[in-house]
Amino acid sequence: MSENADPVVLALESSCDETAAAVVRGTHVVSSVVSTQIEVHRQFGGVVPELASRHHLGAVSAVTEQAIARADMSLADIDALAVTEGPGLSGALLVAVQMGRGLAFATGKPLYGVHHMEGHLWSAFLGDADLDATPFAPHVALLVSGGHTELVEVRAHGHYRVLGATRDDAAGEAYDKVAKLLGLGYPGGPIIDALAAEGDPAAHAFPRAMMKQPGFEFSFAGLKTAVLVHVEKHGPPDSRKALADVCASFQAAVSEVLVVKAARAIERTGLRRLNIVGGVAANSGLRAAAQARGDRDGFSVRVPPLRYCGDNAAMIGAAAAARVAAGLDPSVDVYTNLPIDDPRVVFA
């Protein structure tokens, strides 16, 4: 299929904290708009519960209009519509799903439901005005975010097998909770990442859980508790250097476990590409550790640019465009619980 024949998709995403809309042509992002709750609350100088509860609903029309306007298109230029159909809370998912259904009804365009994590898989292949898109290729995906930490074998579009996942906290959750117990702000990832760059990663020997066990499961609850016990025993870090050392040591433990397991997945599957996707893929310590391991072991490491690491609708659009190109029938539902290797998601 030539570049110009790639389907144009208008995609909406509201499965978690972000309300987003995007227009894509295949994997090329024409426009992408993300409205985060963090910005909304910052405008008001604090948390406004009533505002938060209505945020998705209030934002969805505006981000959709902006995405179409920034793409310099009208609804007539769109070939298909896409929404995130799961997993997530039904109240959140329904905002984009109902908007999508309304648009599909009004325009007669097909509406595709996309798994949120399948969207993240596609984030690694996105291109835009500043970045060339990459053709889809078989790979091992390390999906790391606030709510997910899993290794997925991706043999083809639609062929997903979960190799292992966290048995307790997700990596991003561990960052947020450690940031909280150290008295740092929210979200914890970027703050700890910045402090870690100044610290000594060998200052404290925090545990690396599940490293010796065979398989691909992760555990970060024990690491979080170890940092808590450290703070209880030695008191909160009393200098910027001490704080940076705790952050660097914590980040080294997280990165090492993620990279060791990912490298093991590469070895086991025989695939030579590792894609790191999801919000925690923005972490510089993880990126550096994965790249170093890839250089040593001879596999490639691909990480989306920061603008596509967090939740966005462009990745949902790209996944839907691939479904259009594959000739799949449009369908949409709301699934609060939907593993990426569920029969409703895999098709290859």
């Binding site: 904290d17 709750q37 509860s53 809370l89 039904s90 109240g91 606030g146 609850a221 979080k224 808590l228």
Partner: protein, 176 residues
């Protein structure tokens, strides 16, 4: 019921035993500070319930609600992110807007006989319309390697569950 100085295997055995005794409509309020072992407890409870994939039980903090399929489904809810706590970040949505109450038919109406799931809920104090009848389990961490557990029940149904569980838990009492 009180169990002190539990090792992790003992805590998991207790949770697994409870999991084998719960039934649709059982509500567990699971309390305890960060690192007390709430996710570990729920995971073992899921094994006792014979969930299809107990290994997929993980922390619901970010997602707020995770549902696990099994002979009886388990709804694992964590309202931590709704806490108006400085530094905890923004509240993603108020409880009603999350669509959770629709999933909890029967339980929020205090008609547990019509409920389809077992519910484990962390930070239940943030639940605006929490059911009156539940099993409350408090976990704490007296030191780095052991856990204390306290359980109490409200209502006849959960009271009976607690008595059965405590009876079967005698075997887990640590040796003096």
């Amino acid at each position: 019921m009180e169990q002190r100085g539990l090792t992790q295997p003992r805590l998991e055995a207790l949770a697994e035993s409870l999991g084998s005794q719960v039934s649709p409509g059982t509500v567990v309020f699971l309390e305890g500070p960060m690192g007390a072992g709430k996710t570990t407890f729920t995971r073992a409870l899921g094994r006792g319930m014979k969930l299809h994939r107990p290994q997929r039980v993980c922390s619901p903090t970010f997602n707020i609600c995770l549902t696990h399929e099994g002979p009886v489904p388990l709804m694992h809810i964590d309202l931590f992110r709704l806490a108006p706590d400085e530094g905890a970040g923004p509240m993603p949505a108020s409880f009603e807007a999350l669509g959770l109450e629709a999933l909890l038919d029967g339980i929020v109406e205090d008609e547990p006989d019509t409920a389809a799931s077992v519910v484990v809920i962390e930070w239940s104090n943030l639940w605006q319309h929490a059911p009156a009848e539940a099993l409350t389990i408090r976990l704490s961490r007296p030191d780095a390697h052991s856990r204390d557990l306290e359980a109490s029940a409200a209502g006849p149904r959960h009271g009976a569950l607690l008595r059965r569980w405590a009876g079967s838990a005698v075997a887990f009492r640590p040796k003096p």
